[in-house]
Subunit: 217 residues, 2 copies
Amino acid sequence: MATITPETLLEQLHWRYATKQFDAQRKIPAQVWSALEQSLILTPSSYGMQPWKFVVLNKDAELRERLVSCSWGQRQVADSSHYVVFTVRTEITEQDVDTYMDSIAATRQIDKSAVEPLKKMIESGIVRGLNATQQQEWASRQAYIALGNFMTSAALLGIDTCPMEGLDPAKYDEVLGLKGSGYATCVACAAGYRAASDKYSQLAKVRYTAQQVVENR
Amino acid sequence: MATITPETLLEQLHWRYATKQFDAQRKIPAQVWSALEQSLILTPSSYGMQPWKFVVLNKDAELRERLVSCSWGQRQVADSSHYVVFTVRTEITEQDVDTYMDSIAATRQIDKSAVEPLKKMIESGIVRGLNATQQQEWASRQAYIALGNFMTSAALLGIDTCPMEGLDPAKYDEVLGLKGSGYATCVACAAGYRAASDKYSQLAKVRYTAQQVVENR
C-alpha cells in the first residue's frame, strides 16, 4: 500500500479551486497525464458498467476554439493543457451489457455463464427498468463520479482543474461529431496549471461548516 | 504543496474495489475520519452551491440494521465503520441562494452587493431555469462528485469503500426522518476496512481499455 497522510490529502484539497485562468504555455507532462487518464478509466461505476467515453482535447487548437464559443466564451476550454469532455451513453442496450460481460469473462478468465446472474440483474434494472432518458441520466451520474475522482486525483498530483457545467451540450455534440454515435456530452473539465494572474486563486474557499452539512447519527 | 507521485495515486486506485464484506470490528480512527468528513465538505459543486447534507451513521446500530432491510439486505450498511448517506435538496429556492450568498460574503468579508451578479445567475439558471425534478437531479449530480471525491480520498488514506446505489431512497427517507426536511436520499457509501474473507478483494479489476473509452483529439 502507498497510502498518504490525512494532512497531505487535506492540504491538496484546500489547494485546489476552480481555476478560471490557465497558463496556456504549460503542458501536463506525459507521465502525469497518463496517470490522470488512468484515474478516469479506473473510476468506479454502477455495476461496473462504465457507460462513458472521455474525449480528451489537447492537440486540435482550432477545435478547442470552437468549443469556447459553445461554453459562454470561457477561455479554460482552450487555454488549459488538457480539456476532457465527459460523454455518456444515450441509452443502455442489451448489447452494452453483453460487451461488458465479455470484458468481465475475458479479464477474469471465467466462463460467460458465470456472469449470467449479473447480466440479468443489469438487464432488468437498467435496460428494461429505465427508459432512455433515465438511462442517460443514470449514466450522467456515473460520469460525475469520474469528474469527482478526476479532480481529486489531479489536485493530489498538483494539477489544477476547472469543472465545466456552463456549456451547451447539444452544440458540443455537434462540434465533436457525436450525433448518432450513441454518446452525448454530459459535463467537462479543464486541467493544467493556474496562471499567476488568476485572481480566483487568492480567494478564500467558501464552504458550509460540518454543523451545517454533516449530520452524525 | 504536498503533492504525491503518479505511482502512489495509481497504486491506491488499483487497490480500491467495491468492498462487499467489511471487518465489523475495525473502526476508522478519529483523525482519519475527520479528514474524510472534510473531503465531503470540500467537494466542488456547481456554482459552489453545495446542495447537500451528508448523514453519517456510525453509532446507532439499530438504525443501520433498519437501513440494511431497505438495501436489499446488503451487510455493508451495518458492518462498515462509517456509512454515509448522501442526501440532496429536493428543490433549490431563492432562500438557498441567499444563504449561500451570506456564506460567501462572510467568508470573504465582502459586501453582499458584490455577489449580486452571481446571485442573479444562479437564480436564473437554477431557481427559475429548472423545475423541482430537474433541480433535484442537478443536486444529485453534484452529490456524485462528492461520492467520487470521497472514494478516491478514502483509497488514498487506505480506507475501503463500497458505493451503494442498490437502496430504496423513499424508504431511506422514511427511516432517516427526511420527509418534509427539504432533503432526500440520493446515494450512499460504506467506509471502513475489508474483511479478510471478502472474496471480491481477490478478483481482477474489470475496466475497458484506453482505446475503448478515451478518444484523443
